[in-house]
Amino acid sequence: MNRIKSKLQEDKKLLSIYFTAGFPNLDDTVSIIQELENNGVDMIEIGLPFSDPLADGPTIQDSSTAALHNGMHTELLFDQLKDIRQSVSIPLIIMGYFNPVFQYGVEAFCKRCAELGIDGLILPDLPLDVYEEEYKHIFEKYGLINVFLITPQTSDARIRQIDDVSDGFIYMVSSASTTGAKKGFGAEQQAYFDRIARMELKNPQIVGFGISNQETFAQATQQAKGAIIGSAFIKHLRENGPEKIDGFVKGIR
């Protein structure tokens, strides 16, 4: 069974962490992944940096720019991950923008991911209809889960459609924003969390955007299956380097 699916069956709220590959240093990828697993993180999104990350706020943008400047590229990331499954067992997801994947070749990219033990992809700018028509069979062939996003503005009908096509979890963007833009959740978010919970979707939801500490993690996972922390962890890496990851994770739960 795909590692994401078995993880989702565990009876706990999942903590997922995003980081940008190649940041703060080019060769930190493997040690960051190992440290996160050692400290009890349930799932990791490995960011494949892109020159024009239009859904990201300044924190993740800057980390992408720095990673590319450090020399990160697709083949190098794959090379860094070649022995990752000898030391790491939690689900690993590659998150990035569609163009680098498209240039690598979608099939070649998926094949490589499967060989390395990557469990899924999050490509926010690969639209639902294009995925279904052109790429779904490739993802399925290589056992990769494709994760779709929903937002507070997404209509119920479209959420149902996304739930139908999804086969893992749904990435629930907490507010209408780019990454790292909002701090904390208000009544508006709570209403959105409640609305989604009431829909009783077949896929569990993991909340992302706006989660930075114990309080927001607890709030986001009251109803959802888990939460993803991105910008707050990137800030931690910027300030501390790839150190004190234990302290960061303990601060969340």
């Binding site: 020159s51 024009d52 990350p53 990201d56 300044p58 569609f98 240039q103 926010p124 503005q153 209408a176």
Partner: protein
Amino acid sequence: MSYHVNEKGYYGEFGGAFIPEMLYPNTEELRQNYLQIMAEPSFQEEFHQLLRDYVGRPTPLYYAARMSEKYQTKIYLKREDLCHTGAHKVNNTIGQILMAKKLGKNRIIAETGAGQHGVATATVCALMGIECVVYMGEIDIARQAPNVARMKMLGAEVRPALSGSRTLKDATNEAIRDWINNPVDTHYIIGSVVGPHPYPDMVARFQSVISEEIKSQLLEKEGREHPDYVVACVGGGSNAAGAYYHFLDSPEVGIIAVEAAGKGIDTGESAATSALGKVGIIHGSKTLLMQTPDGQITEPYSISAGLDYPGVGPLHAHLFASGRGEFISITDDDAMKAGLKLCQLEGIIPAIESSHGLAIFEQRKFKPEDVVVMNLSGRGDKDLQNYIDYFNL
């Protein structure tokens, strides 16, 4: 074969809406409504009234006698340079501000490179009394000070794009991010035939007034609606889309697209996307774009700030890939010389973008009886400092 957009938002294999879900409701609202709104008689009436009384349309189709004599062919210039604000850009911003009003939006955002689209957007926002934020790369703000001042005088807030290469593509990213953060009250006025569907089609339709006028003006002057060739410069490609629009499906009209070669196609300092680009995704559209083998978008170069976009609109990618369009690239030097030549032969100071189109007459021969319409997309006032520096005036 049609060269217009299909019902799914594609031109051949190009186009579509490759956008994160956060943008889906905004673009979907627009996609579901734009054709219907544009077809409403009240919309058409207000749009054409403003084009006539405010922009100054129709712009003349001018027979350039001395140029024609020099190049031994019949050259007509479509005088978009005479539009209010100095270029064709305002055709689109008038259309989109009316669209925004119909959609009930009360805040406008836009991106700008050289500042022409920013000025055209700030202008229509002032006209309608609507809040306006223009994103502009930090580097462009420094080198386009007069247009920054114009936007401010017109009441717009100019926000520097500090990310990436801090030029047009980054300003576009910032505008998209603003739209993600303000999905309900804000309309994004994209300045070219780029971005996710329906933008390329909507902008092309607003600019299509250019070829609509060419047809009737040419009928009057030459007794026929169709020229043998229509020539336009292409950065993102909005003036070209407007100039080609009503001729796309008429194979007897040759379509010539002129890109900026910068310092030369092989110099690494160029913006000739058809020659240097590969299929990829930029700003929500599948099109030709300049990128690294790894899929990172690269920074183009041209002396003309309006042509240094790393992609082209999906319509133009399709015209190139299908062979319908003839693509020519022109260097900085050849463009500057052609600009000066137009001043001397016809008494018209062109925008450097348009000078690229003018330069093809030195390189490509036409028959004496050919009727060639060249879209003179903008005037050269904004480029004066560039001309001064280049020619030591």
